[in-house]
């Protein structure tokens, strides 16, 4: 429920209202747009308060907000959130591309990749150091060493870095070196991890779970927002369906839907979304045409020898070709490729 305040509402009245709500066991969320200010009432059963709230003269109107994700909802807000990382602005007119290997494997691999993707116009370097793997016997990533290599490669090529964090206890360590923390699809409902990244001071790239509804994704974002971190980027990365020709089914309708329901930036991952190298470029273009604010793409200098996800990684040339195709497409849509010629 949302209580919209009268323009004449005093600070004292607002404080009384908040106190009343908190005494009843609810949490509150204060927000405003250009014209109005309101109080979101968080918790189950808020509608039972309606009668009592009618007695508060400072309330102009009570709204039963249907969305249970009060902070993530576009709702009364007019504007979209823009997440800034240095010269990068995610959620504005620019289309931001993040690229790099599934896993950091060696110094040479990550520096070669960083150089190539920077030259092609990527603004961020992706790469896994702590890898969540389905089997305990698969390559689990280089850990701290991988993180340091990636940070150095990012610095060398003026790329911000984004990497996955898989456990609450790792957040602090990873946040020291990474510019953006990724919460992977398998951890989308690891609520302790969401709370931890919510306190990390770093923007969070939150991937949709393989079988998550959009409401579940937005409620996961709400955990991060509620922990005090307003910078969440949502990522559509494919859902699991009956289809067997692709690793996952990229649900591109999620992009305009999420942008309608929420003020947060939305990007797409055509690499995991298809699992097939040849499908990455057409689906990357499609995602931007559907309204994505950015892309995260797997690129490897030698996909055939990649320790993980080689089948879906673009070569350096393939990535460069994709960027060349993206540039005119973005312009045709009235946007611009961040890092593209201008």
């Amino acid at each position: 429920m949302i209580a919209i305040l009268k323009p004449t509402c005093t600070l004292r009245e607002k404080a009384q209202l908040v106190e009343f709500l908190e005494q009843r066991g609810f949490r509150v969320h204060l927000d405003r747009n250009a014209e109005r200010e309101w109080v979101g009432v968080l918790g189950d059963g808020a509608h039972a308060l309606e009668r009592e709230l009618a007695a508060f003269g400072a309330i102009e109107e009570l709204k039963q907000e249907s969305a249970p994700y009060v902070r993530a909802a576009r709702g009364l807000r007019g504007e979209s959130t823009v997440v800034r990382l240095g010269r990068i602005a995610l959620g504005g007119p620019e289309v931001v591309v993040m690229a790099g290997p599934c896993a950091v494997e060696s110094e040479e691999q990550i520096f070669t990749t960083a150089a190539a993707v920077a030259a092609a116009g990527a603004r961020m370097l992706r790469g896994g150091a702590y890898k969540p793997r389905t089997s305990p016997y698969s390559f689990q990533g280089l850990g701290q060493e991988g993180l340091e290599l990636m940070a150095a490669a990012g610095k060398a090529h003026d790329l911000a870095i984004v990497t996955e964090v898989v456990a609450a206890e790792d957040v602090e360590r990873v946040a020291r070196l990474a510019d953006m923390l990724q919460v992977g699809a398998r951890n989308m409902q690891n609520f302790r991890l969401l709370e931890a990244v919510g306190k990390s001071g770093r923007p969070v790239l939150l991937k949709r779970g393989l079988v998550a509804t959009l409401e579940e994704l937005l409620l996961a974002a709400e955990y991060v927002l509620d922990a005090g971190n307003p910078e969440v980027i949502l990522c559509e990365r494919g859902i699991r369906t009956f289809v067997r020709e692709t690793r996952n089914t990229l649900d591109l309708a999620a992009i305009p839907l999420l942008k309608e329901k929420s003020h947060l930036p939305v990007i797409a991952d055509p690499s995991h979304g298809t699992g097939v190298r040849a499908l990455v470029p057409p689906l990357a273009l499609a995602a931007v045409a559907a309204g994505a604010d950015g892309l995260i793409v797997e690129v490897h200098p030698d996909p055939a020898r990649a320790l993980s996800d080689g089948m879906q990684s673009l070569t350096l040339e393939g990535f460069s070709g994709l960027m060349a195709a993206l540039d005119p497409l973005a312009r045709a849509l009235g946007r611009r490729l961040a890092g593209g010629s201008s």
Copy 2:
């Protein structure tokens, strides 16, 4: 299995080979590209013939084709099929848009729509006359009367018409007035209907079933091709998944995949693919960015009063806006909107 013939193969040798195969209970499919000629062996268990075929001197090479849809497969063919309907060419560089109401409801409705979509750049008029409906008590379409209205409206505005045919016994009647016959998602595996449209002399728009794999779709196309009709257009129209925010999940990866596996044109239906009006334009753009050769879109002069599918129909203005956005996008992709300014 495919037997590639030597350049020196005589007509007599070819005839002997065909006779041999047919005596063993197989059917054969003769095809060629610029350089070579081959015989496709159709039926289960062809590989058991390998030894005997080795004795045929006219055979250069035996190929175990993995695709069971010999006629629909891109396989050895170099080129894509282009389906022509007057000035329309489906499967070439132009992006062809088909638009119109879910169901023909009245003369005024279909003429108004036809005029508007033609003006906006559509090349074909879609509309249902014989409607397959989930409930026996829902509006079942105007039948023959609807068909005649649509044909008249198409003629008046220089639009080819495409309409669904729901039973083998209706094919002849519908083919008399329609330029293209649609086989709907529910009938994708109605094999008698596929055989009937395969003998209709009209191009066939074949929609993917709600839960069909791409192999099943291509085998359904194979029924039409095998009945003698080489003009089949495939249509991705959304699959049924766990997602509830949209009516279906538009599987855009199917578009580049189908174009890789088959030489047939591929279009998309963002109306059924999403079921939500606001999502039709972004997904239409996305489908073209993913490589679709065309679109089929539901448009209604007054969606709120539509007898079916009003929720997903664009208004006339909405459609016109979509076409204005498609034009620069198609150009950015090196294609052209059929009917667009040039």
Copy 3:
């Protein structure tokens, strides 16, 4: 909508009501249970009549029935429908087992199978004569000859026969020899076929489509009922999901749900529902434990040489073992295996 009539309602009043409704373009469905009689109003928009109907003195109460399948709904009816075929009663306390090969392949095959399944306690012989096949090049069944062989085998072993019919134009011919007509999963929404079997005079075994909701299945049944045939048996045969270890996912919750929503008998097909021989017995037992009124099971004297579906066919011994396990299970549930020792 349903109009429940007063006990005092006269025939004349009932006729006036029906006439009124039909003039407004609605169809009506008269039904009754032990205490009451009612009129179902069929068609979209019936609720708009509420005011006018208030003027009819013979109406006791108007009910907005949520189910759109008025004839298939359990609704006001107290009892379940029992479909009788000679000594067989489907939908009562007995559990009826139908068994036989996927396709009739030869006289020897069908007679051997019939003898064995009859000896093990099956009451009906299943087998395909007209087969719907995904590929045009696969074995399409023996057609009329297969039908005659199956009819003879059924007669010889006192088994009623059930076989699939794939097109409206075949219904009359198949109905001459078969005791029960099966509409397969792919044809669940082939509405012309549903209407045709609705006029066949034979009970209809209606299989749930691979991706059909229960409402869609019940509306498909409604087409048959509405065409005048009250004898429909519903069949859960597995849905298509992301799971790859089984051919389909048998949705056993559908069984108690369908029995709650509808008065029609419900059976299960563990052969197509799993696609794996070793899983057929445990899932057959599970289906009966979940409340199934019967089973339809694929059995073949030599599954390794079956022309179709060999992987999921039980051997004759396997079937006999299943029946031996089913008997005590049915008793533990307070039911009885039709044909079992008693």
Copy 4:
């Protein structure tokens, strides 16, 4: 890969083999059954060692095991694992029932429930103290207090207790009071948590993720086994599909499949598996008929007032009715209800 040792293999030879494998970067798993002893080689790329291993005289045979979950696989083992908790034996002939509320809400609630389920024949008490909730604003469980209440209620009624643990850092605390630790569906691939429960010294109830394949589930179990804990119980609790009439689709074929692929006990959760109270008893019976070694069922003294999952909770009477129906069913299957009359 598995290297089966000759009966004559000496300890020294075994040690040399292990050393060789570990030097190449593989991990090893020693196991045996009544007749043979073998070494499992864990890690990607083991097949490349084949030639070198041929030089080891102590190896009788190399087997390419297809299952990547070497410890969880039934493989060469003859027997099933039986997990014992006092008088309870999970995985043997008895069917073990765990019952209790979704969340512990109060002392009265948990003691009332414990008394009733014990009287009806349950052997274990389930209940959530640390709850993973989709929304940050929903009731998150009573935490440590809930755990203590549950432990006391279990003790009072001779019920072992099982409760969910949601984060690695909670494992030690929860393991102090709980007899069995549950890893929930959302955390099935929270690998840090799996490692932590693998070191807890408590049996682990591992629930299948909403969209997990059986291979993924068994690899998750492998994480626990690999961390040193041999006592894992697998739980089928429903998967997410297109079906909307039930909360999830209970995939009962998973039960016999898991028992074939693995030696671990398998139980079912018909409460989450359906989400509908009326469907819990028929699906519970079906799960046992399909071969489940036990059930976990939600029971609440007043489901209408439950703080979570009230819709799917049985009443105390409902649970008692289910147990009365289970007893003869288990006997008909040649098993016995643990705690049932004997």
